[in-house]
């Protein structure tokens, strides 16, 4: 079984992102970039399925600028066998990204595609579901457990009320939640080995997909800030403030 893992290069999760001075966009000058944390979980799951003998090949794919090769190399160091960059200098929306990915999936015909549930830059939480619709594949979002069983997979999903288990027929799209696994760190020898693995660069222009954006970003601003609070001295003080000042308990 071949597994395809779409990954995204995003701002590192520890960075506090701010708007540009003219509020036209976020300020990404000189900020640390990394693989989206949910994509790390997706790579890990695919690599574990390979280690378990269930999968035969893991292909990491990204749609983005040339510098996204850095994150593809990380995926290769974590255990992916080869990588594909669908290169573009434009910032694409999830719909367009899903269209590019579906083209690649048609060529690669994997049995399983594992994505992150959400990229922590735009917090869109869309690409996997869109891809499933475009390919008419089954979808299992927000996975916390995946079991492959012949030509189907049993997936436990984190939903608002608790956990749900569904059976999806393969080929399927799975998106990862935080508790699916704990990703490993790449070892130095594996980082060295990854440099020699195959990384294919394709130009999006040649794919014949409509990548036009449907949305315009009008502005980016800081959220309303909270008024500075106070420190209370004791539990008694806290209770009286909540009763008399804030009036949120009686």
């Amino acid at each position: 079984m071949k597994i395809l893992v779409p990954i995204k290069r995003v701002v590192d999760y520890n960075v506090k992102v701010r708007p540009l001075g003219d509020q036209s966009d976020v300020d990404l000058n000189n900020v640390k970039m990394a693989m989206n944390p949910f994509c790390e979980i997706a790579v890990e799951e695919a690599v574990r399925l390979k280690e378990a003998g269930t999968a035969t090949e893991v292909v990491a794919v990204t749609v983005g600028k040339s510098d996204s090769q850095e994150q593809l190399r990380t995926a290769l160091a974590l255990g992916a066998d080869r990588a594909i960059l669908a290169e573009t200098d434009s910032l694409l929306e999830p719909l367009a990204i899903a269209k590019v990915l579906s083209k690649i999936i048609e060529e690669e015909s994997p049995q399983l595609v594992i994505l992150g549930k959400q990229a922590i830059d735009g917090d869109n939480n869309q690409t996997g579901q869109m891809l499933a619709a475009m390919l008419n594949y089954s979808q299992a979002t927000f996975a916390s457990e995946v079991k492959i069983d012949g030509d189907s997979a049993s997936v436990t999903r984190e939903i608002d009320g608790g956990l749900q288990t569904i059976k999806v027929s393969l080929p399927a799209i799975i998106t990862t939640d935080l508790r699916l696994n704990e990703p490993r760190y790449a070892s130095l020898p594996n980082i060295m080995k990854a440099k020699k693995k195959e990384l294919d660069v394709k130009s999006i222009g040649e794919m014949g997909v409509d990548i036009n954006n449907r949305m315009e970003l009008l502005s980016v601003e800081l959220p309303a800030s909270r008024q500075e609070g106070i420190k209370v001295e004791s539990v008694e003080d806290l209770v009286s403030k909540l009763k008399e000042e804030a009036k949120v308990i009686s």
Binding site: L95, K117, Q126, T165, K167, V168, M215, L222, V235, V248
Partner: protein, 309 residues
């Protein structure tokens, strides 16, 4: 111009977030319709027909819709989509699962988790875990939108008189089947609907210690939440998680106990009206958003607080 809201329900009752989503739909100045798909769910339609602001209910009652699986639900919504300028659902795990699938079927770019409606095509939404707010304009002919429930006050659940119309199931998919569900049962209010929430973090040290929070929750009629660290450590189930990738809450009072205040946690609670933080580290970032901070060991503070309430 008509607006379609996708109802969320358990085949018996409407989920509260639907009322917030209808409130957002009303701001768009059109007739609001509600789509209910489910199995033996007539009672949901009866309940919804009383909800303020809805003029028509479309109900598709079919065994295939029992568990609200994305494939069939998205196909059904698509079958009526051309009648609408906007299609909205709450940004819950249900809405997040179904609506992007629908938008790809319609070839439109979804607008995720809006917090404000600027005009019929322009919306505000948080990005980067709420560090920034983006204003975006959609140029698609049908706008597919998920709504952050806490950003819109719910409409009244009574006073309306919507008509009810049955619609046929459409293009039922057998790609996915339902196996089972473990839904947490609790007498406490639902996290996203509670007016008081008390959450514990890694500082709680164990799941057993959550009884310290539960004792207080019971006195205040509060819901209990948690940070990701507390969920990952297995102290409490996943549905307790508040944050960027968990639940978004905005109660009148949020009490964070033994939580450091990582940006991903703040993303889920910083719109609460009053925030209290109890933490033994006076430099914990949670104090920067807290209206009332108490620097104390939670194992002393919680029993004392419980006693004084």
């Amino acid at each position: 111009m008509s607006i379609l809201v996708i109802a969320e329900h358990d085949n018996a009752n409407l989920k509260p977030a639907t009322l917030n989503t209808v409130a957002a739909a009303k701001e768009l100045n059109g007739e609001v319709h509600l789509l209910i798909s489910g199995n033996s769910c007539q009672s949901v339609a009866d309940e919804a027909s009383g909800v303020e602001g809805i003029s028509k209910i479309l109900i598709s009652d079919n065994a295939a819709y029992e568990n609200h699986l994305a494939e069939s639900t998205a196909n059904l919504i698509k079958s009526v989509a051309s009648n609408y300028s906007h299609i909205l659902a709450a940004a819950t795990t249900f809405g997040k699962n179904v609506l992007p699938r629908l938008s790809a079927l319609l070839d439109v770019q979804q607008i995720s988790e809006i917090t404000e409606i600027v005009s019929e095509d322009t919306f505000k939404r948080p990005i980067y875990a709420g560090s920034c707010i983006a204003t975006v304009k959609s140029n698609d002919s049908i706008k597919v939108i998920t709504v952050r429930a806490t950003a819109f006050d719910p409409v009244n659940s009574s006073g309306g008189s919507a008509s009810i119309e049955n619609i046929d199931a459409d293009n039922i998919s057998d790609l996915t089947s339902f196996v089972g569900e473990e839904i947490a049962q609790s007498d406490r209010p639902e996290l996203t609907a509670a007016s008081i929430v008390i959450s514990g973090g890694r500082g709680m040290q164990s799941g057993d210690n959550f009884h310290l929070l539960e004792a207080i929750a019971d006195k205040l009629g509060a819901a209990v939440g948690a940070s990701r660290a507390a969920v990952d450590a297995g102290f409490v189930p996943n549905d307790y998680q508040v944050g960027q990738t968990g639940k978004i809450v905005a109660p009148d009072l949020y009490i964070a106990v033994g939580i450091s205040g990582a940006i991903q946690h703040l993303a889920g609670m910083k719109d609460s009206k009053v925030i209290v933080a109890i933490n033994k580290d006076e430099d914990a970032p949670i104090f920067q958003v807290a209206d009332y901070g108490l620097v104390a060991d939670l194992f002393n503070a919680l029993p004392e607080l419980s006693e004084q309430l």
